[in-house]
Amino acid sequence: MLRTGERDYAREFEALAKTLEKTGGDPTALRNPRVASLVVHGNRVLGLNSLPGLEMEVEPIPEGIRARVVVKPGVALENPVHLCFGLLPKEGVLRILSTFEIGERAKVSFLAHCSFPNAEKVQHLMEAEIKVGEGATMEYNEAHYHGPFGGVEVLPKAKIWVAKGGKYLTEFKLVQGRVGVLSLDYEVHLGPEALAEMVSKVYGKGNDRVRIWEALHLEGAYSRGLVKSRIVLQDQAEAEFIGEAVGIGPYSRGHIDCTEILRGTRAKAAAVPKLVVVDERAKLTHEAAIGSIDRKELETLMARGLTEEEAVETVVRGLLR
């Protein structure tokens, strides 16, 4: 097993590529010259491939990297940009500080994979500032792969600004291995006619602790936003979801949607919606469901021959997909 300080970049690259597969990623994309990618282990850049219209500047900082990603106005990247971050040793810190600037009418999608397969005491800090230009679209899908020990602290924090008519779509997924501690803190500010969809999916086990705070600031007229969270908890895992929407722009629309499934009697879940209407023409809604899996869903699958346990697994798999 590799240790911090070893300079075997190739082996680190291979190990990260291998865990990438476990999050549903395609490791061949990291070697494809037509696919933009950035591979980081600790504070070492193992791979960097940019494309015309996309600039990625990366500099090492203690315990991580600072990255600046720029997509030029009007550029539409055909393939998703792969971002692969990880730490292979049992202990350590990975800090990613990033800024994203998506030019007007540009269109780009990012697939971020964060791998901590051996973590026993690892802290992953992520701070991002994202600016999506007028009429631009940015998708950011982040999938985590953690080992079985639950020794990871994941602390992502992002502030996003979406200009007029822009779109920001993001999904955060931590369903492989143990969560450890997750404290996610995302805040999006939407200009006129801008759109944001923020989805988080987390599977907590053992004594995992999950806190998700996502806020929509619907500042522009006719801006729209959705915050959706799907959390499954088992053993003694605990989760708290706080979904916030502030309707400032006239005719803005926001919706908070949270489902938390508890497996067993010791897991705990809370959902706290916070809706603030500043302009009377804004409309905000929320829905939350916390509890065990719907009996009708289970019995429908059981009436097709699945055992109760298989039915539970099928429903959970669908929910976290």
């Binding site: 019995e299 009436a303 097709r304 099928t314 429903v315």
Partner: protein, 269 residues
Amino acid sequence: MQKPGFSGNIEALMATSSGRALLVVENLFVEREGKDILQGVDLSVEEGEIHAILGANGTGKSTLAYAIMGLSGYKPKAGRIIFSGEDITEKSVTERAKLGITLAWQQPASFEGLTVREYLEISRRAGRGCPSIEECLALVGLQPKSYLERTLNDRLSGGERKRVELAAVLAMRPRLAILDEPDSGIDVLSLDDIMEVIRRMNREGTTVLLITHREEFARAAHRASHLCGGRILKTGECEEVVRFYKNFCKGCTHVNEPEYERLEAKSDA
């Protein structure tokens, strides 16, 4: 006046059938929230038939369907359910499904993230299995290309979800399909198509217990039983049962005290 229906013992139930009984329900009582919904149901369904259960809203039709499938909360407080000669009253939903029984819900469940393809594959693996899930979907009027990769969530309309439910039954090819009001939520123009799907299901070897309150649907069955006030009041040829339903129970307000019994009480007096 002679009380219609069966006499309440298993031999009599078997004897009333001209063919081989696949399902026999004997003197079944089911209580829900302190109220007796089924009050001694006797029913015999022959192998290979489409058997309609006709009754007004609130008479216990769905409760009967759920009790036969063994759903939680519908455990009988008395009576027996015999399937293919075996007492299944204490068996779980999964065990009943593995014996070849399935249920299509009146309002099918939604599943986030589960695709139509996956759902139909689960069904196909459970039973005797259809050759092609695409064909099952096409038979219920849904284009496989457009629907197989869609998820079974709320974005499907009620009618589409009902059609997928029927396709799942086709994919499973069960020995007994309990169809709880497959006609509800389906546009009138498509009712004949849905009935044809049920007939095809039946031709391919599935015995159908068809729950409905629509006379024209019941008429398409081989035999029918009329349920009122938690009891089967009459079983026989469809036309005869429909006539009985219209004469005695249409407009009956006493869903747990059948109009028939009120008339009977009057005549006794």
